[in-house]
């Protein structure tokens, strides 16, 4: 009968230790999870547009890596849809974004047409969230939040002296994402005489990336407020 006493003693001691460890945990609420998805558009066989001496797929990947580093330095968890020159189908990109349950999704594009930054949100009509959503219109329940995110990005970019164009569009995969999402298209900076920066301008790229990072930090503050 002695061995049963030992077992009982061990169980009681283990239980007490567990209770003690629970009691010793800090009483403060855990930090809410904040994840940003960066989707570098194109890749692999899909080269995207031609931007001077390089392809759009390389430009967006470099921008994604740069922005990811900046966000990570600010303590933001980042999920990327691609880390190399790989072909990723639009539906796969949406799957990655939806699986991450992100609070912001930025789809990075670049173009030689137009000027400044173009911020595009889905052209779907806003809808109430439902338990089951259609894959091709999943973004409808998030359009309002996407427009709010575009507003935050817009104000931060304008604050950095970058001209912004807002619009609505339909891109492959865009309407299937279940997160506040904005397609960011970077075009050369044109307009006033002292602002004529091509896409290869390091200063222009730095300002764009810094402004996007600041906007996402601000968005995190808004998103985590009770």
């Amino acid at each position: 009968m002695r061995w049963t006493n030992w077992v009982l003693t061990a169980l009681v001691a283990g239980g007490l230790a567990g209770v003690q460890s629970v009691a010793q945990q800090p009483s403060a609420a855990p930090q809410p999870r904040f994840v940003v998805v960066l989707d570098a558009a194109h890749g692999g066989d899909d080269t995207g547009g031609r931007l001077g001496s390089q392809y759009e797929k390389n430009f967006t990947l470099a921008l994604s890596v740069r922005l990811r580093s900046l966000l990570a330095a600010r303590g933001i968890q980042v999920v990327t849809t691609r880390e190399s020159d790989a072909t990723v189908e639009p539906n796969r990109r949406a799957e990655i974004a939806n699986h991450a349950q992100a609070q912001a999704c930025l789809i990075l594009h670049a173009s030689e047409s137009g000027s400044g930054l173009h911020l595009y949100t889905s052209s779907l009509t806003p809808a109430q969230p439902t338990r089951f959503v259609a894959w091709k219109t999943a973004q409808a329940a998030w359009v309002t939040r996407s427009l709010a995110l575009a507003g935050v990005l817009n104000s931060n970019l304008l604050h950095s002296g970058i001209s912004v164009t807002l619009g609505r569009t339909t891109l492959p995969g865009l309407d299937s994402m279940t997160c506040p999402e904005v397609a960011v298209e970077i075009a050369p900076e044109r307009g006033s005489s002292h602002k004529n920066s091509g896409l290869d301008s390091k200063d222009y790229q730095s300002r764009v990336v810094s402004a996007l990072a600041s906007a996402l930090v601000e968005w995190r503050t808004e998103a985590t407020q009770p």
Binding site: S113, S115, H118, G167, T170, L171
Partner: protein, 221 residues
């Protein structure tokens, strides 16, 4: 040793084959002559010159990403499908012009056809969907779906980018709706087949609501 009767039979069949070949050749020549004689190549009706009318075009501008309403006078045919093709041809001619605000190569010949079909109603079954080949000249009073068939060279030469491709799509949809108010939906084909995107960005697999593409003047779409 070949029997004699087989030699005669072979010779007979050979001669018969040659005679039948000559006969067939003569019959073919006669049929060809009859066909040429029956064909009347003289013009039966004078070509119609459509009268010039006012057409409303929604012209895109890359400078401020806007659609501006412009009115142009151009000959417009009676047939709605041909009419739609004519206004889109004028719109794309403007984009192909030097110093265009929304430069896109190709011009008016980039629109191969515009098919006008009854617009599918929400909840309609697959069997209710309109079939291609429906008569275009039949006047339609209800909402219509315009299927715009673009050339492959137009899509291949279109500048790549979300803004520029979206502006092209919206200006086409808006121009169609402005001139043919019954057109409420627009779909796109390239060389007669569905294509994923125009030039890597704008989705061409979906149906565009034409009325949504008509913004207040000078505003961003």
């Amino acid at each position: 040793m070949i029997p004699r009767y087989q030699k005669y039979l072979f010779t007979f069949l050979l001669v018969a084959s040659v005679l039948m070949g000559v006969g067939l050749w003569q019959l073919r020549e006669r049929a060809h002559q009859r066909m040429l004689a029956g064909e009347d190549s003289s013009p039966t009706s004078a070509p119609q010159v459509a009268a010039a009318e006012q057409a409303t075009l929604l012209v895109a501008s890359d400078d401020d990403s806007s659609l501006l309403t412009q009115t142009h006078s151009l000959p417009l045919p009676e047939d709605p499908g041909a009419r739609a093709r004519a206004v889109l041809g004028k719109l794309l001619d403007l984009y192909a012009a030097p110093n265009a605000a929304h430069p896109v190569p190709g011009g008016g010949n980039s629109v191969t056809q515009v098919f006008l079909l009854p617009a599918p109603q929400p909840g309609a079954s697959a069997s209710d969907k309109p079939k291609f080949g429906a008569p275009q000249s039949t006047p339609q009073t209800g909402p219509q779906l315009a299927v715009v068939n673009l050339t492959g060279s137009f899509a291949a030469s279109h500048p790549s980018g979300i803004e520029t491709e979206t502006l092209t799509i919206l200006s086409i949809c808006g121009t169609l709706h402005a001139n043919l108010p019954n057109v409420t939906q627009v779909r796109f084909l390239v060389n007669g087949v569905e294509r994923a995107t125009l030039a890597g960005h704008a989705d061409l697999t979906r149906t565009y609501m034409a009325a949504d593409a008509v913004p207040a003047e000078g505003t961003h779409p």
